[in-house]
């Protein structure tokens, strides 16, 4: 009964709203500089700025939603939001579940960071966020992989000595290495750049964002934005 009342209330309230197309953008909100929650509790970062600009160019109204990294793809396919813009690298395994736009970053280097120099990263205990290209890479190298649900916990695990090093996007680690005892050990290039992900049945919407990304590459505004957030690689 309670549900019924809420549903009716929700319908009554939304019936009058203009039918302008609203696109819900899903992100993680825990991966600076790509996306994070600022002090006011709002989604902020490179992808916030990028997403807002893309929506403006595609003449869409966009709202931001945060979702746990682990369930970010299932919640897209079941329709809770319309696109993922969450520092997600384009990989073949993910292509089977969702469709990506063209990359809006170059294939960016991933980096190992630890507390001691000269660590053999193929023979050590390495932390990575679960279901990422980095965790897949660690598993391939034969090192011992310890997975964590959030990026922040992978760094905390190094600092507490639980693991020897962390493998993550270099852009995520740069400010951490600058401000803490962690140091860079080694770099690897993984994935095919970061793109927005859409439902496979949603080609029309994906086309709009793809065109908007292309236009930002052309007029150089994407490069300016990458510079501003200190993300490596230019178009």
């Amino acid at each position: 009964m309670k549900n019924l009342i809420l549903t009716t209330a929700a319908l009554a309230l939304t019936a009058g709203a203009a039918m302008a197309e609203t696109v819900r953008l899903g992100t993680e909100g825990a991966y600076p500089p790509y996306n994070f929650l600022n002090d006011a509790g709002e989604v902020d970062g490179f992808e916030r700025e990028l997403g807002d600009e893309l929506c403006k160019r595609a003449e869409l109204e966009c709202t931001w939603v945060t979702n746990d990294w682990d369930s970010i793809i299932p919640n897209l396919t079941s329709g809770n939001y319309d696109a993922i813009i969450a520092g997600m690298s384009i990989t073949e395994a993910r292509e089977e579940l969702v469709d990506f736009t063209q990359g809006y970053t170059q294939p960016s280097p991933s980096a190992y960071a630890g507390l001691t120099e000269g660590l053999d990263v193929k023979n050590a205990v390495i932390a990575a966020q679960a279901s990422t290209i980095q965790s897949a890479h660690v598993a391939e190298t034969g090192a011992t992989l310890v997975e964590f649900p959030t990026p922040d916990e992978t760094v905390a695990a190094v600092q507490s000595g639980e693991v020897d090093a962390v493998l993550s996007d270099k852009d995520f680690l740069v400010p951490i290495v600058a401000e803490t005892d962690l140091m860079f050990l080694e770099e690897v290039r993984l994935g095919g750049g970061i793109g927005m992900a859409f439902r496979e049945s949603d080609d029309e919407l994906r086309g709009k964002f793809d065109a908007a990304i292309a236009s930002m590459k052309e007029d150089g505004s994407l490069n300016a934005m990458l510079d501003k957030w200190e993300i490596e690689g230019k178009f």
């Binding site: 549900n3 079941s78 922040d152 905390a156 401000e179």
Partner: protein, 284 residues
């Protein structure tokens, strides 16, 4: 740069921290709504289980057995998605009969725009309210099954002589149930129900599985180390302190619950043919 207390008072009043404080309210509201709804579900299930017509009692017993047998976390992951898609499927059938595309396209679940629950155009708070309502319903179904089992046992614990006396006075089956059995069964149900209440308090972090930002989510988000480039309040790994706050909150809340439940037990034992009731009679 701000120093000491001034820094702390600014830090603790950021928009993010407001979200953290609000989430305490969310958890309390969830408990306040879920507990009576779950009790209602349980009462219904217990009544059905006691029905003299076999197929009806199977419904009650089947519900209790099925839900009690499924691990909570599987229930919270599977059932909510199924419920959400079920609602959207029904709306889709009602509102878009001319739609010809399949609803399942590979991995995608696609319904027409006006069958979305909530609508894609709805403001964020409606999405959150809807998620919260789904959470309440799911919690109520899970805890209702356990409460049903407790109440069923409690109803059977009321001495048979009480019902026989009621019938001897000429009460109908229904009158004997509502006037004699129900008022007396609570004292037998209370230990089991108070256990459930304690478990329910501690089960609230499952909210995050349902997309509701609860206190554990915020504690993790706020406690994680913050870099000076992305915040005015950089700090190291402070998760321990935030989780300590949660510990105090949960301990205080369960302690208050214990006190209240002890009082209710005393009140319900009054005049009952139980050990507790007998002790009260002798003390008086």
């Amino acid at each position: 740069m701000l120093e000491g207390l001034q820094w702390l008072s600014c830090y603790l009043t950021t928009g993010k921290h407001m979200g953290f404080y609000v989430s305490f309210g969310t958890v309390l509201l969830l408990l306040a709504i879920t507990a009576p709804v779950a009790l209602g579900f349980g009462f219904g299930a217990a009544m059905l289980s006691r029905a003299r017509i076999a197929p009806i009692s199977w419904i009650g017993k089947g519900y209790i057995a099925a839900v009690r047998g499924v691990p909570d976390i599987a229930f919270f992951l599977f059932f909510v998605i199924a419920l959400d898609q079920g609602i959207e499927w029904l709306l889709h059938q009602a509102r878009c009969p001319e739609w010809t595309d399949p609803i399942r396209q590979g991995n995608d679940f696609v319904v027409c725009d006006i069958a979305k629950m909530p609508l894609g155009t709805s403001p964020q708070w409606i999405h959150e309210t809807y998620g919260f309502a789904l959470a309440v319903l799911t919690f109520a179904i899970v805890f209702g099954a356990f409460a049903g089992n407790v109440l069923y046992g409690a109803m059977n614990s009321v001495p048979r002589g009480q019902i026989e006396t009621a019938e001897a006075y000429g009460m109908t089956h229904r009158q004997a149930f509502w006037r004699i059995l129900v008022p007396q069964m609570w004292v037998y149900a209370l230990p089991g129900l108070s256990n459930l209440w304690m478990v329910l308090i501690k089960a609230t972090p499952l909210l995050f599985l349902l997309g509701v930002e609860d206190i554990v989510y915020w504690a993790r988000e706020l406690g994680g180390s913050k870099m000076a480039r992305f915040t005015d309040y950089p700090h190291g790994d402070w998760r321990m302190w935030y989780f300590l706050v949660l510990l105090v909150f949960y301990l205080a809340f369960t302690r208050v619950s214990e006190i209240v439940l002890a009082r209710i037990t005393t009140k319900l034992s009054h005049g009952q043919a139980t050990v507790g009731g007998e002790a009260q009679r002798k003390a008086a």
